[in-house]
Each structure stands twice: as C-alpha cells, then as structure tokens.
Amino acid sequence: MPSITKPLIPLAPLAKNELGLTIRDYEGAMSTLCAGCGHDSVTAAITHAFWELSTPPHMIAKLSGIGCSSKTPTYFVRGAHGFNSAHGRMATIATGAYAANRELTYLGISGDGDSLSIGLGHMAHAIRRNVKMVYVIENNGVYGLTKGQLSASADIGSRPKKGEANVIAPIDPIMLGLSLGATFLARSFSGDKEQLIPILKAAVAHNGLALIDVISPCVTFNDHEGSTKSYRFMREHEVKEVVADFVPLRREIHASIPADGTRVVPMHDGSIVRFRSVPEDYDPRDRSRVEEYIREHQARGEVVTGLLYVDESGQTPHQMGHTPATGLNKVAFSDLCPGSAALEALQEDFR
C-alpha cells in the first residue's frame, strides 16, 4: 500500500485539544483509496474522535488485517503504533498485544471479508474474551482489492455489479455479537460522522471489546442500484432512533438521569454515554429487546444505526486474570525468574 505523505499546509490557527495538539496531529498519510470511498470518512471520524478525546498518539495501537479497510490505519494518527497483519488475523495480534500491555488504546480496523469470512472465528473469540479494544468493521459487502466479489455480509437479493443476485443469508456482526455475549455493539454509516464520532469515543471508554459495524459504501464495486450497501440505499433505509452522546469524564454532566437510569450508561472510566433518544421501551442494556428491535426493522428492509447495546459489567481478560494494573511487559525480570534457590527446592519433587 503506497503511503504518500500528506502536505502540511498552514491554515488559520487550528483548535487545540487538551494536549495542545491540533487535528492535523491526528492525521496520517494520504489515502490511496478510490475517491468517495466510505472508508475515508471513517478515517476522518477516527481522527476527530481521538483528537477530541485528547488521546496521546503514541498510546494508541492501530491494527488491521488485509483488505481495503485494513489499509486505512496508515491514514490516521501517524504517531500511533501500527500493525498491518495478515488477512483475518488482526484480532489475534490485538489480543496478544493487549495481553502484554494493557496501558494502550487498541483500535482494530477490519472489513467484512477480514472479519466475517476468513477471520470470523478470531473475531468471535475476541468478543467472547472481551478484549479491551475498539473493533471497527468497515462493511461494504464486497471484496474491493480483488475486484468486487460479494462478501459474507451481502444481503439476500443484493446484486454485485456483474452477475447474479446473492441468495445466501448474510452474517450480521451485530446479531452475531449479541449471541456471543458482546458488551458493546454499534452500527453506523460512514456518511454520518456526527453519529460515528460519539460512538467511537464511547467505544474507547468501554471496558471491553466495542464492536462498531460501519456501513461504508464501496464506490467502485458496490454503490449501484440493487446494492444494499450503497450511499443511496443507506440514506433511504437508515433508521436512527437510538441516539447516544458521549460525555467525557472531565466535562460537567448536565444530563438529567431518569429514575430508571436506562438512558444514561456510566462507563468504566467514569465517563458516561447519554442516550438522547431511544424508542419507547428500548433499553440498550437489554440484550433480547435489542435483538428484537433490530429484527423488526430488518424485516422492513431498514438498517438500524446507533449505539445499540452496552454492558459495562463485563470483565476483561486482565480482570479475569488478576494481572497488575501496568503492562506485563513492564514487570522486571527479577520479579519473573524464581532464581536458583527456588529451582533447587522445587526439584525435590522430581526425586
């Protein structure tokens, strides 16, 4: 993937975040994706989210697999540590990295080929383990780099640019996540930065794996009539009844918390997710209701977006494993090696 350095053109003074960094400090190399690609909008949303959160760039690890989506980590936060791994294997590398150093913010970027076909098992198990990471699927329903084959997320009846309509049932990462015990599930649309940015910020604050399925149209291979992952289809069929804002820890909270508390979800780090609007009887912490709600809309050919499900009570692998609060990679060798006296003693068991 060619990486082209983006020219840093001095503009009018840019706003600075708490670290004194501008949005430019969270950008990466120039994108080499097709003009109009949905993924570039996701890149822009990620850039904004991290800038707004004031996350130190070097404390971010951005990982990906293989595919158009997996190219994008070069296009944001150049000061972050990047790992473009193998097709479908991003979740495994992220799991190991997180196991070794829990102090970083892990962001995995993946696509529907990467996560719903070749890497489906790894994604499912990362969800089950509740690895603390933001897991973004840039979902366009096709394989772009190999020129337009339908992916596992293509809806029944969805037509590739050439050839027959799809007749095989799609894999919906949100429904899958619900069945696997996921603790944070959101769906968004790359064309809706306003919705995506707060979701990304809440995902970073989440204590566990935050899965965000972003419908991100492929302008070259899947933006035509008959596609259910096109800009037009999404604009006509998106249902945005679940609207959530992210309120960071440091800001004064003005949200009025309803008596039942269902519309405000306190995050592990003290920040909160405030649901500005949700349908009557919708509870983003009620797994079966969320599932039912998505299904009802799917039956009508609608795509529900928003932060659909949150459960902050889950345990991360480090909590389950009772590891130290700092990274295991920082434990001194002298604390890891039991030494000669212990070796001498333990060998009594081998006599």
């Binding site: 540590h81 190991g96 070794a100 150093n101 790894h122 990274g327 990679n329 434990v331 212990a342 006599r351």
Partner: protein, 612 residues
Amino acid sequence: MSLDFAPTHAPAVNDFSVKLANVNGTGSASANSLLMQAIFRMGVPVSGKNLFPSNIQGLPTWYEIRVNALGHTARSLDYDLMVAMNSATYREDIADVVQGGYVLYDSSWPLDPDLAREDVTFLGVPLATMCIENFVAPRERILMKNIAYAGSLVALLGIDADIVSQLLAETFSRNEHLRESNQKALQLGYDYAIANFSCPLPFSVAPMDATSESILIDGNTAAALGCLYAGATVTGWYPITPATAVMDNFQRLCQKYRRVAVVDENGETTYENNFLIVQAEDEIAAIGIVLGASWSGARSFTSTSGPGISLMNELLGLAYYTEIPAVVIDVQRTGPSTGMPTRTQQADILLCAYASHGDTKHILVFPANPAECFEMAVTCFDLAERFQTPVFMLSDLDIGMNDWVVPKLTWDDNFTPDRGRVLSDVDLAGMKEFFRYAHEDAEHVSARTLPGSDEKGAYFIRGSGHDQFGRYTEKPEEYQQVVDRLKLKHAASAAHVPAPLVESREDARVGLLTLGSCDLAVREARDLLVAAGVACDFMRVRGFPFVEDVRAFVEGHDHCFVIEQNRDGQLRTLIAAETGAPREAMTSILAYGGFPLSARTVVDAVTEHLEG
C-alpha cells in the same frame, strides 16, 4: 570390511529390560512409573518409556523399563521380562520376550496352551483372584491388580521394598485409605512372589550411587520451567497431544511462582498474577497472540505439535518478514496429517526450518532430553529477541512425555536475558529519525521500538513489501535489500545457537551424526561399534543454522551416517541444502515407526552398510 561383531544379549544385575503390556485406562501407568521411580531412587540409571495409544480407555498400551548401570537407557528391543496384563495382546507380547526370559501373567485364568514357549519361564500370579479376595470395592479390585504385580516385580527384581512403600506414602500423603490399600496390594504381590518363585531373578537391581545428583523429569515439564525462568509472561496455545503438558505445567508453575500478594485500597490482601495464559480458538490465534505480545515487548511463547505448526505457517512468515520475536515449542509427533498422535517422530525439521510461503528460514534448536529442554527454552527467548525472529524448539513425544533421568537443573542468578536491540524513549530523543529496518548491526539486526514508545519511534508494521525504512515498496532493489539482509541475519545466528556436541577418537573413519532424542541410542550404538572394532566419531547437532563444523564432520569421514526419526532423512536434506556438504556423502539411518530409537537399529544399519 568385515566386522568382528556378534552382540550377545546377556541380562545381568543392573542391566536388563522389562516390558509391561497393559490395557489403557486401567490405572497401570502409576504402578509402572512407581517401579521406575524406585529404581531411580536406588541410584541406578533407568528409563521408562510409555508406548501408549491415542485412546482414553480400552486399547493396548505398553511401558518399557530399561535398567543400565552404564547409563545406556535408550529403548531396548531385548525384553528379559514381560508383564503380560493384556489378554488381547498375549500372543505378540509373549513372542517379544528374549530366549531364556520370563513372562509374568495373571494366573487367575489358565493361559491358552497355544501360547506356551519352551524357551521362557512363565510366572503365574493370581492377581485378579488375590484382589477379589482382599478388596471389596469393584474399582479397587481392578486398580489394585496393578500394584499387586508391581509387588511381585519388587520381589523378582530385588527392588528396595522400603523405597516403594515410601513412594506410596508420598503419593497418598493426603489419603491414608488409599495408601493402605496400595500398600496391602503391594504386599500381596510381593509375598506371593517370595513364596512361589526363586527371588530375585538372575537379573535384578542392586543399589548404586549414579543418580543422587539427578532428577526424574519429563521434557514438557522441563520446557515449561525453562519458559518460567526465561521470564515469559504471555502465552497463546491450543490443546494438542503431545504438547499440552507444556502449557499445563507452565500454568501450574506460574500459579506457584508468579502470584504476588498485594494489599488493595481497602486494606485487603489480594493477589496479582505476573502472567496471562490465553487458551486460543486455534493454533493460528495462538501464534497471533504470541506475535502481538512479542511485538509489545513481552516474552511470549506457544507450545504445539506438527498439526499446529501447519496452521501457524502464515503468521510465522509474517513474524519472519516483519521481524517479530516468537518462541514456538514443537513437541513432535508422528505425521503426516493426524498421523499417530501418541507416537514419536522427528519429522517437523524441514517444516519448521522453512515454515511459511516465500523465502523464509528460521532458527531451530534440538534438545535431546529434558535437561536440554530447560536450558534451550531459555536460549530460545534470547535468540528470538536478539534476532527478532521466530525460534523453534523441536522436542518430541519421547522427550516430552516420558520421565528421564537427567542431571539436576541449575540456574545462574547472574543471568541477564538478551532482550535484543530495543530503543527507549531516551535513545529515540537522541536520534534524528527512526527507521525500523535501517542501521543494522554487525549481525544484520536493526533496532526496534515497542508500541507505547515516543511518537518518534512509531512505525507501521507491514507484511507487504517494505524497504529498509519500513515503507511500502514494490521496487525490486528495495525489496531485495530487505530480504537479503534477513538471509544474512539468519546466517549470523549460527554462532549463537547451541553448538554441536562432538566426541572424537583417533583415526575414526566412521561418523555418526544425529540430533535430539536419538542421542542415547546413538551413543550406545557408538560404544557397541567401538567394542566391535569400528572406531566412530559422534556428532549431535543442537541448532540450525549449522556451524561450519557440521560440514567438516560430514566431509571428514569416509562413512558418515545421519541418524534421525523420519522417513525422508530431513536432517540430511537440511545439511546438504544448507552447508554444501554432498548429499551422497551421508548415509541415512532412519527409524520412523513411532517408537523411540534403539541402539540395535543403528548398529545393524551401520554393520550392514560397512559389510555390504
């Protein structure tokens, strides 16, 4: 060339073999290892080899005990005593005994006259009857038969009964009832043998002082200990025979040595674990976890067997090309495919040497016994981090799952791990710019940074084509510059892998070259050949890439035999391909049926070749 060679087998005190034929899942394993452990405590060199089926219950299983004062404890093929406890395999087991040998069987039922052999002595012990008469619980009646035959063997082989009782007391220290039952069964068998046979037999055990500085340990436990001492903190693994016990033991050891008591904010004492073990969804994930953790600067490893290596190939190539450390412990079993999961082989040599597509070459170490599993596991982490690449330890089922008598493990408290070239933020501050694959050292290793280090050290790992700066490239010369350096880096590691062990004698025209668990059998074969007038040199390679000495050894002998446990002569192929030593200068001696090598196989093959 004609040889003055007529090996005759004559069992004697501290020189004999016993084979025990059992039914899997009947509790025989503990009785068999009890005997082996008792002989070890008597100070006598001994080995115990479990030849077991891939089954939980019902299939035939064998255990072989070899006692040898000189330490020749490779698998023997001459069984002086057969304990025939499996009626389903009576015929083959009885046929397996040497002329003049003995068969101990359960005489509760008459032996089929068809099975009689004039040249062996049958020792009938009514084990089932004895246990039915003396035990009430159905489970005990079955289990205690094993301890009862062990009792008879204690008498027949002159094993110290007090040591056996002491071992039972240690094993059942928390269950007095079980200790009593076992002791009673032991006594029943013992008393019967004393009363009915002439004890001890002409071959038996006499106390020595050859094992007081030794331990009895299996390779998987020793490898886990090595990983503990090396400072490994993160592992990814998937259960597989025969490697599972590596991680089981690592977990057990971590729970004992890596659990730190801490006082929390409420003043309550809790604990923290300086380790995280992830049971992965498959071996692909297992190695992915290792790469993620190693990238982040933790020492990380996985343990697996051949089928797991097959699955890991893709990410091993990624690790090689992006230069991420990884330690893989491969406890080899019989392939290809599922093969024979509970049988041993050394058939992953080429798979590991060149794992993954494209031009790849990896560092391998070949332990020969559990003591080397311990030492070399530590070496693996140093090599992996120094050379920023995957390192494989090729153990096998024989080493990994059998108990071996090895010298006590030692540890140097001054040991400092070699963490390789890793830049700190201070280092970065003093640099104009950081490029991941530039500024190689004399061994062609470039410095790396860890995620979390200063922005200046941030870079983008990519498995796609990259230049020395870490940038994407499709330009031939830029691509080649990187892969050429990787080749040089691999070659440079030869000076750091464990050196070959060589034992030479004057004027030897025959060279015996081997690796891994063939060690004891080949050494014994060498002694037998020398005794027959064939001067032999011995070399055991312990690491790949090979040092120049390997080629010199091959070329320095009129006859160089390469002895290994696979069908295709993989070590020979690797030596020929990588050292330039002519393939035809090496004669393969191969044992690959799944059971450990014995000296006889080697002696016969060498003799046949030299005489032919």
